[in-house]
C-alpha cells in the first residue's frame, strides 16, 4: 500500500510524533507494536486511526494520550517531549489537556453519571458547586440531563458512552483520545456516538483522535490514519476535515 499524507503546516502542531517506536516485552521475546511513526496532529482535527486488530491502533492512541511512553523516538506536546515529563507532570497534562473515551466506557460503578463527569474536575481540585454546574451542562449537551443521578449500571451502553464523552469534555481539553469508542455498541448507536463526537469537534474545536476497525464510521472523519503491523500505511485528510478547518 502507498503511504499518503496530507497535513497542514502549522508552526505549532498540537502533537508531534517523531520516529516513534513502541516495543513490549513478552517473556524473553520483544514485540514491536509500533514502528517508525512520524505524525503531526493539528488543533481541531477529527482523526480516525483505523486498521485491523493488532495493527497498533490502541498503542498509538495510548502514546498520543500520554498513557504510555515510547520505547524510542519523541512525542512532543506543547513543545515538550513527554518522555522528559515526570509521572506527576504527565498526570497533570492528562488532566488538563487530554480527555479519554474508552471502549468499555470505564465509568466508576459506585458513582452517578453526574459524579463520573465531575471526576476530572475533582482531580484538579475544582469546587463541588462549579464541578456539578459544568457536569450538568455537559450532560445536557449529550442529552443525558435526566439521567444525571443514575449509576452506570442503570444506563444503556450508548448512554454510558455519552457519559464518558461528557466526562472527557468537561475539562474542555484541546484533545480527546478515544480508543475503540464504538466497539461495544450496536452499529446505530456507534454512528450516533461518532456523530456526537463530531458535533463537539465542530462546536468546540476540540481535536478528536479515535481508533476503530469499522470502516463504516470513517465517512464522517476529517483524517484517516491507517495502520498495518505497527506502521502508518495511509494518512489522508478528507473533505470533511477541510470543511471544518476552513
Amino acid at each position: 500500500m502507498q503511504l499518503q499524507s496530507n497535513k497542514r503546516l502549522d508552526p505549532m502542531p498540537l502533537i508531534t510524533l517523531k520516529q516513534v517506536k513502541r516495543c513490549y516485552r513478552l517473556g524473553q521475546t520483544s514485540i514491536t507494536a509500533l514502528s517508525d511513526i512520524n505524525l503531526q496532529i493539528e488543533q481541531g482535527e477529527f482523526v480516525a486511526v483505523w486498521g485491523p486488530s493488532g495493527s497498533g491502533k490502541s498503542t498509538l492512541c495510548n502514546l498520543i494520550g500520554t498513557l504510555d511512553n515510547p520505547t524510542f523516538g519523541q512525542i512532543i506536546v506543547n513543545g515538550r517531549n513527554i518522555a522528559e515529563m515526570t509521572d506527576a507532570e504527565q498526570s497533570d497534562h492528562r488532566n488538563h489537556s487530554v480527555g479519554f473515551i474508552f471502549q468499555r466506557f470505564n465509568l466508576i460503578s459506585v458513582l452517578t453519571a453526574l459524579e463520573n463527569v465531575c471526576l476530572p474536575l475533582t482531580l484538579r481540585g475544582e469546587s463541588k458547586t462549579v464541578s456539578s454546574q459544568k457536569a450538568r451542562s455537559i450532560l445536557a449537551d449529550v442529552g443525558l440531563e435526566t439521567e444525571a443521578d443514575r449509576r452506570p449500571d442503570k444506563l444503556s451502553g450508548g448512554q454510558q458512552q455519552r457519559v464518558a464523552i461528557a466526562r472527557a469534555l468537561v475539562t474542555e481539553p484541546p484533545l480527546i483520545v478515544a480508543d475503540e469508542p464504538t466497539a461495544n455498541l450496536d452499529s446505530k448507536t456507534a454512528e450516533q456516538i461518532v456523530a456526537l463526537m463530531r458535533r463537539f469537534n465542530h462546536s468546540l474545536g476540540t481535536t478528536f483522535i479515535f481508533s476503530t476497525h469499522d470502516e463504516h464510521l470513517l465517512k464522517e472523519v476529517g483524517r484517516r490514519i491507517r495502520l498495518h503491523d505497527g506502521r502508518i500505511i495511509e494518512d489522508i485528510v478528507t473533505t470533511a476535515n477541510e470543511k471544518q478547518v476552513c
Binding site: D87, V110, E115, L123
Partner: protein, 416 residues
C-alpha cells in the same frame, strides 16, 4: 476529598461481606485493647487508692534525711523531733493543695497474749487523720472495709489492730487484751497493755504474722518520744504530687530542716513492678491485635486493589497521580478503621455496662479480699486507640496501594 471518601465508602458497601469481616476484626481488636487498657487503668488506680487512702499513707511522706537507709539501725537519731514535727506539719498545712499532714511512727518489738510472745512490727498513725483519709477515698476503695471489728476512735490510745496471721498465732480476737514490749529511744525496756479492736489481712503475706496497727500517740508512748519517723501528706489531687514535692523540699531547706520527701510510688516499689508487668502484658496484646488488624486490612485492600485495577487505571488516565492512588486506598482503609473503631467503642461500652450491672468480684494482688472488678472508660486512651487503628489501617493500606500506583496505566486499563 468528599468524593474520594464517598468512593471509598460506596466500595466498602459494594463488598459488604469482606468489609464486615475486616470491620469485625478491627472492632474486636479495638475492644480488646480498650478493655485491657480500661482494666489496666483500674488496676493502677486501685493500687494508688489502696496505698494512699485505704492504707492511709497519703501522696507524700517526709522523713529526716537518711532515715530510710539507716533509721532501722539507730531510730532515735533519725526521728523527726517534736519541734521539727510541728514546723513541718505547720508548713505543709499552709500549702493550698494539702488536705492534711499527719505524723506516723513505726516501731518494732514483742507482742504477748500473756502467755506467749512473738515479734511484731507496728505502724502508729493518728486515728482521726486515718479516718479522714479513709473518708476521702474514691471508687470501690471508699466502700472497702479491710478489717473485722471496729475502727479506731479519733481519740484512741491503747488500742490495736492485729494482722490475721498474728491474731491466729496468739489466739487473739477483737476484745482480747495484749501486751506490747519495746525498747524505748533511750534503749530501756517498755511494756504497755492494749486492747485488740480489729483484725485484718496484711497487704503482703510476709507481714501477716507480724503487722500491727496502733494509734500514733500509743506508739510514741511505747518509744517514749514526742517525735515521729515521718509525716504523711494527703493532697487534693494526685497530679500535684511531684510539683508539691519539689516545692516543699525547697521550703524545708529554707527553714534549715534536713528532710527528704518521697512520693507514694517511691515508697511502694511493688506499684512500679505491677505497673511494668501490666505494661508488658498490654504491649504484648497491643502488638498482637495491631498485627491482626494490619494483616486483615492488607488482605482487604489487596483484594480491592486487584478488583479495582481497571478503575485505578481509569482514574490515572483522568489525571490521578500515583500518590493519589495511595491516598485513595489509604482513605478507604481509614474509613473502614473508623467504622471498626466505632463498632469497637460500642462493644467496649457494652462490656463496661455489663461489668457495672453484674458487679463481678476478684481478689487483686495487693488486697487480700474480694473486691469489685471494674473496667474504666479512659477517654484519652479510647482516642489513642482510635487513632492507632485508623493510622495503622491507613499505613497498612499503603503496601497494596503502592502496587496499584506503580502499575502501568495500560496494564491497569486492560485488566479484566
Amino acid at each position: 476529598m468528599l468524593t474520594w471518601l464517598k468512593i471509598g465508602f460506596l466500595n466498602l458497601l459494594q463488598n459488604r461481606r469482606r468489609s464486615l469481616a475486616t470491620l469485625g476484626a478491627i472492632a474486636f481488636g479495638f475492644a480488646a485493647i480498650s478493655l485491657l487498657g480500661g482494666f489496666t487503668d483500674y488496676i493502677f488506680k486501685s493500687l494508688e487508692d489502696t496505698y494512699i487512702y485505704a492504707q492511709s499513707n497519703g501522696h507524700l511522706s517526709v522523713f529526716k534525711k537518711g532515715f530510710l537507709e539507716k533509721g532501722s539501725l539507730d531510730p532515735g537519731k533519725y526521728l523527726i523531733e517534736e519541734k521539727e514535727l510541728a514546723t513541718i506539719i505547720s508548713l505543709c498545712r499552709q500549702e493550698p493543695e494539702v488536705v492534711l499532714a499527719t505524723p506516723q511512727l513505726d516501731i518494732n518489738g514483742l507482742i504477748s497474749n500473756g502467755s506467749v510472745s512473738t515479734i511484731m512490727m507496728a505502724s502508729g498513725k493518728d486515728p482521726a487523720a486515718t479516718n479522714r483519709i479513709g473518708s476521702l477515698a474514691r471508687g470501690f476503695t471508699a466502700r472497702l472495709k479491710l478489717f473485722k471489728g471496729s475502727s479506731f476512735p479519733d481519740d484512741a490510745f491503747a488500742k490495736a489492730g492485729i494482722s490475721q496471721g498474728l491474731a491466729d498465732k496468739l489466739g487473739l480476737a477483737p476484745g482480747s487484751e495484749i501486751i506490747f514490749m519495746t525498747n524505748t529511744i533511750d534503749g530501756f525496756m517498755n511494756a504497755m497493755d492494749a486492747e485488740v479492736i480489729m483484725t485484718f489481712d496484711a497487704s503482703i503475706e510476709i507481714l501477716n504474722d507480724l503487722y500491727v496497727s496502733i494509734p500514733f500517740s500509743f506508739a510514741q508512748a511505747l518509744y517514749e518520744t514526742k517525735g515521729a519517723d515521718r509525716v504523711n501528706i494527703l493532697l487534693k489531687n494526685s497530679r500535684q504530687t511531684l510539683p508539691l514535692k519539689r516545692r516543699l523540699q525547697k521550703i524545708f531547706s529554707a527553714q534549715g530542716l534536713a528532710t527528704e520527701i518521697f512520693t507514694w510510688k517511691q515508697l511502694q516499689p511493688s506499684y512500679s513492678r505491677i505497673h511494668n508487668m501490666f505494661n508488658v502484658i498490654f504491649s504484648f496484646v497491643f502488638i498482637i491485635v495491631l498485627t491482626i488488624v494490619a494483616l486483615s486490612v492488607i488482605n482487604t485492600v489487596s483484594m480491592a486493589v486487584v478488583e479495582r485495577t481497571r478503575e485505578t487505571g481509569t482514574l490515572r488516565a483522568l489525571g490521578l497521580k500515583r500518590s493519589g492512588v495511595i491516598k485513595m486506598f489509604a482513605s478507604e482503609s481509614a474509613i473502614l478503621a473508623s467504622l471498626g473503631s466505632l463498632g469497637g467503642l460500642l462493644l467496649t461500652v457494652t462490656v463496661w455496662a455489663l461489668v457495672i450491672f453484674f458487679e463481678p468480684t476478684w481478689i487483686p494482688p495487693t488486697i487480700p479480699k474480694e473486691v469489685p472488678l471494674e473496667i474504666h472508660l479512659v477517654p484519652w486512651f479510647l482516642i489513642f486507640t482510635t487513632f492507632s487503628m485508623v493510622g495503622l489501617a491507613a499505613v497498612a493500606a499503603v503496601i497494596p496501594a503502592r502496587r496499584a500506583a506503580q502499575m502501568s496505566i495500560i496494564d491497569a486499563l486492560g485488566h479484566i
